[in-house]
């Protein structure tokens, strides 16, 4: 249950009262810092630190009534530390990922909380003596960044004293220099570090294995009686609530796509289950708060007790679109297979959406590109006449996929990521290497999404069955029908769309083709290396590509017409009524999903009537467990009510609260672009 304090704060933030303290960088004269940097020829590495210094100096400490965990953004935007001309220059020489700043990795919060800021600053300072010139510059930028963060904490401390909140002031005084002494200190220090990452211009800042690195502080405090369980509960709620205060300021594709994901449960290298009391509290806190941040992933495996799934299913009932379930039995071996050490693989967390990354150790770019299965299969239809049997035809598709893998991989030359001195402070090995994290880490792998897998597999299945096996559809007719977007080809269209074998019906005819496509993808990427020596990871996610790739896709042999969307992530096509969730789970857990370790969940929509009683919740928990036991890699459930969605589209003002899952994240429905709204409404038509 929410406490009174938390309810009041939640209302306060929900009514956006805290927006009144916000100022723009323009008002503060911070927007053109880049001109000064350019004129003075300040090295990029130092710009990161100076910008962060200026931002923290301009921040106004605000502590709202009743807040236990503080730090609120008062500056609406983090300005770029390069001028437009400089960016142009960089772009002409380099490959930039998204906006060029660091994103979507996970810090080593565990060590940072234990060591504290002062000790870390001193270690970075001391390392200067033996570093080269570039190293010295980096270390100086890191030291200045830590000092800036400490300065911000000091301001909050002074503010707390002025307000007479000595308990808070003590916490702040302690975390300004020392490692966390207890649960409240750990949460408050984490809040400042996380806040700092955002304010330094990095984005999609994840929270990692929160229940693991926080648990020792919780346990110690509660066992020693330093705080009661009720107090710990309220602190946890405070932290979760704090994650929602500034999230509208965080950049992403759409509001809500901010990457504040955290991971619960899972196991260690020896196979011990790590789900603890705090993990359960997190699920409950998220349920009670009913807010989109932090987004929760639950690591499970074949031995996870049904009780834990039930806790997850209960949260699903909220309709926030999480938890997302990640199967350790598939993910861990999959990561090891791609060269991650067993210890690191067991410590995996989830990036902004679904990609598996290693906290502290990976500078992976998990969403660097995407391969369009549907697009490749669509193109191959033009030359279908050349092949005498399906096998020779598939061999050509396989070759295309492998060519495309090479072409995609070749694009990422001369990667440039704007230096991120503060983030570097919280990543492993940056001190030893005396180099910014953006230059590389222990793992430097790139992830490639694979989009439209069901569209592609269904298309191949139709081709195999009707063109090659039954010979009931001629190549010419198929091509003509697709060129005409099925105009005048009603009968063929009906057959392809409604009668052909489909992935999701537990029909090997289509399912085995999906497995072959994924295998081709994995094999295509396997020999490739990026310029940092890292590998490429195949995935089943789509991110926004499911919209991009669909718009330029003509009619496909699965009976999909031009302009119709392709399914998001690892999901069945939306046009056929499938046999039901059991068949869908079976189809989508076949094959070796460890090969597609960049992730991308099977998404199932549930009508909210399922949650009417406790018994049904248990059945839902069983359903989720079955997917894991069958070897599925990742699962995400949406709870939707069709009437609500229609009404929300018509009367957005009445549904400001309505939260839906979009691709790898949840957002407010009414704030989404219409194409996303329509896609979600479309999905529910085929809900369980």
């Amino acid at each position: 249950m929410l406490t009174k304090r938390i309810e009041q704060l939640k209302d306060f933030f929900f009514d956006r009262h805290h927006h009144s303290v916000r100022r723009t960088p323009e008002e503060l004269g911070l927007d053109r810092l880049c001109d000064r940097f350019a004129a003075d020829k300040v090295p990029a590495q130092m710009r990161g630190a100076i910008l962060f210094e200026e931002m923290t100096k301009a921040e106004k400490p605000v502590i709202f009534d009743g807040e236990l965990i503080v730090a609120t953004r008062t500056i609406t935007r983090v300005p770029s530390y390069f001028t437009e001309a400089e960016w142009e220059e960089i772009k002409s020489k380099h490959y930039l990922h998204e906006n060029g700043f660091l994103s979507n990795i996970s810090a080593n919060y565990k060590d940072a909380l234990a060591e504290g800021l002062e000790a870390r600053k001193q270690r970075f300072e001391a390392r200067k003596a033996s570093a080269d010139a570039e190293g010295k510059l980096f270390l100086e930028s890191a030291v200045r960044s830590i000092a800036a963060l400490q300065g911000l904490i000091a301001k909050y401390e002074a503010c707390a004293r002025e307000m007479g909140d000595s308990a808070l002031a003590e916490v702040l005084a302690s975390i300004r220099t020392e490692g966390a002494k207890g649960f409240r200190e750990a949460l408050q220090l984490l809040r400042f570090i996380h806040f700092g990452l955002w304010e330094s211009g990095c984005y999609h800042n994840t929270l990692g294995r929160f229940d693991q690195y926080m648990y020792p502080y919780y346990k110690k405090d509660v066992e020693s009686g330093r705080i009661s369980k009720d107090e710990a509960w309220e602190l946890l709620l405070s932290f979760f609530l704090a994650c929602n205060k500034d999230s509208d300021l965080y950049p992403g594709m759409q509001q809500g796509d901010n990457g504040q994901s955290l991971v619960l449960g899972g196991r260690d290298e020896k196979g011990n289950t790590l789900f603890n009391e705090l993990s359960a509290m997190c699920l409950e806190a998220s349920y009670d708060l009913n807010l989109i941040d932090p987004k929760i992933n639950l690591r499970v495996d074949r031995n996870t007790p049904l009780e834990i799934y039930k806790l997850g299913a209960r949260l699903t009932k909220r309709g926030l679109g999480f938890p997302q379930y990640d199967n350790d039995d598939v993910v861990v071996p999959g990561l090891i297979r791609k060269g991650y050490s067993p210890e690191d693989a067991n410590d995996y967390v989830v990036a902004a959406c679904w990609e598996f990354i290693i906290p502290g150790k990976a500078m992976d770019i998990v969403n660097i590109g995407a391969l369009s299965f549907a697009g490749l299969v669509s193109k191959s239809v033009d030359r279908l006449g050349q092949y005498k049997d399906f096998e020779s035809y598939y061999a050509s598709v396989d070759a295309d996929i492998k060519e495309e893998c090479k072409a995609i991989a070749a694009q990422y030359k001369n990667l440039y990521i704007a230096p991120a001195p503060l983030y570097s402070v919280f990543m492993d090995g940056t001190l030893e290497r005396a180099r910014d994290i953006t230059l590389g880490a222990k793992y430097n792998n790139f992830g490639i999404h694979g989009t439209g897998i069901a569209t592609a597999a269904d298309s191949l299945a139709a081709i195999e069955k009707y063109v090659f096996d039954e010979k009931s559809v001629s190549v010419k007719d198929l091509q003509a029908a697709l060129d005409a977007n099925f105009e005048g080809w009603d009968e063929l269209w009906h057959k392809l769309r409604f009668e052909a074998p489909k992935m999701g019906n537990d029909d090997d005819y289509a399912d085995k083709l999906a497995q072959r496509l994924l295998a081709s993808f994995d094999e295509g990427l396997a020999p490739l290396r990026n310029e940092r020596g890292g590998c490429f990871r195949a995935g089943t996610g789509t991110a926004m590509y499911y919209i991009f790739h669909a718009t330029c896709l003509k009619a496909t042999p699965d009976g999909r017409k031009a302009g119709e969307v392709i399914p998001a992530n690892y999901s069945p096509s939306m046009y056929t009524k499938h046999k039901g969730p059991v068949s869908v789970l079976k189809s989508f857990s076949k094959g070796d999903l460890a090969r597609t370790i960049n992730g991308g969940p099977l998404t199932i929509e549930l009508d909210d009537t399922i949650f009417r009683n406790e018994e049904n919740l248990e059945k839902l928990a069983m359903l989720i467990r079955s997917y894991v036991q069958l070897g599925g890699h990742q699962l995400q459930l949406n709870t939707l009510n069709k009437e609500t969605l229609f009404d929300a589209k018509a009367h957005p003002e009445k549904h400001r609260n309505l939260i839906v899952r979009v691709w790898g994240w949840s957002g407010y429905f009414v704030e989404l672009d219409e194409c996303y709204q329509d896609h979600i409404i479309n999905r529910i038509k085929f809900a369980v």
Binding site: D506, K579, G580, P581, V582, S583, K586, I610, R612, N613, E615, N616, K619, M622, L623, R625, S626, Q629, V688
Partner: protein
């Protein structure tokens, strides 16, 4: 090998027995309950159904062995989750031979039926022998009222209920709660007294009437005009004592 007519197979049917189950809908019913929400299940024959995207044929003939093979595909899933298969309708006992044949092809699978109990005693026994669980409807205890609202006499139903009770098989009683039809205190007490001492009784479910029951009638060119007040809320009486109760 016999054929039967079914009109739907639903996976992950959450209200038809324990665990994860698949429910098979057999077409045809001898009753005509005024509140029936599955009008497409009444006629034993395939028929036109006006669906959202155009007309469809509702109902198809299947061979017992094909249906069984289809159901067995998910056997592992049922076993993992304490589930199985439930047959409903319409009234599944109407296609008794087919039903028994399918069930005989599902050895080791947990089998349940949802029935009005309206069939010949020997038919009921034959089916009962093959079942692990029975979801048994009691629509009204009074013969006259029963005839008025469902079109048939309840004597065979009560006789089969007696057989069920004596068999010791686990069963669930389901009562559709229809406002002004069967929700009187008197009828509810009579319903309770019919089953309260049966050792096989697992629980009693009250299924509250909902207006959406009439939604599908136009789709099969039928009219929904029950003679009870569809806007009224059915009464729920607190009289069930130790019987496990579920109100849906």
């Amino acid at each position: 090998m016999s054929k039967g007519t079914i009109f739907s197979i639903e996976e992950f049917a959450i209200n038809d027995g324990p665990g994860i189950r698949t429910t098979v809908f057999l077409k045809g019913c001898p009753l005509r309950c005024a509140w029936c929400h599955n009008p497409e299940g009444l006629s034993p024959k395939p028929q036109i159904f006006h669906a959202m995207d155009g007309d469809e044929i509702c109902g198809r003939e299947v061979e017992a062995k094909d249906l069984a093979a289809d159901l067995l595909k998910n056997r592992e899933f049922f076993e993992m989750n304490g589930g199985g298969v439930t047959f409903t309708g319409g009234e599944p006992t109407m296609q008794a031979d087919f039903l028994c044949e399918v069930m005989d092809l599902l050895p080791g699978v947990h089998k349940a039926i949802e029935t009005s109990g309206y069939c010949k005693p020997e038919v009921f026994k034959k089916i009962l022998d093959r079942l692990d669980l029975v979801l048994f409807d009691i629509k009204h205890t009074d013969p006259e009222q029963h005839r008025r609202w469902t079109g048939v006499d309840n004597a065979p139903i009560l006789a089969n209920l007696q057989t069920l009770k004596l068999s010791g098989k686990p069963f669930v009683i389901r009562v559709p709660l229809i406002p002004g039809v069967n929700d009187s205190l008197e009828n509810m007490e009579a319903t309770r007294d019919l089953v309260k001492d049966a050792p096989g009784l697992q629980r009693l479910e009250l299924l509250r009437y909902h207006k959406t029951a009439g939604a599908k009638y136009p789709k099969v060119d039928m009219e929904y005009s029950p003679a009870f007040d569809t806007d009224a809320e059915p009464a729920v009486h607190d009289i069930f004592g130790n019987i496990k109760l579920l109100i849906l």
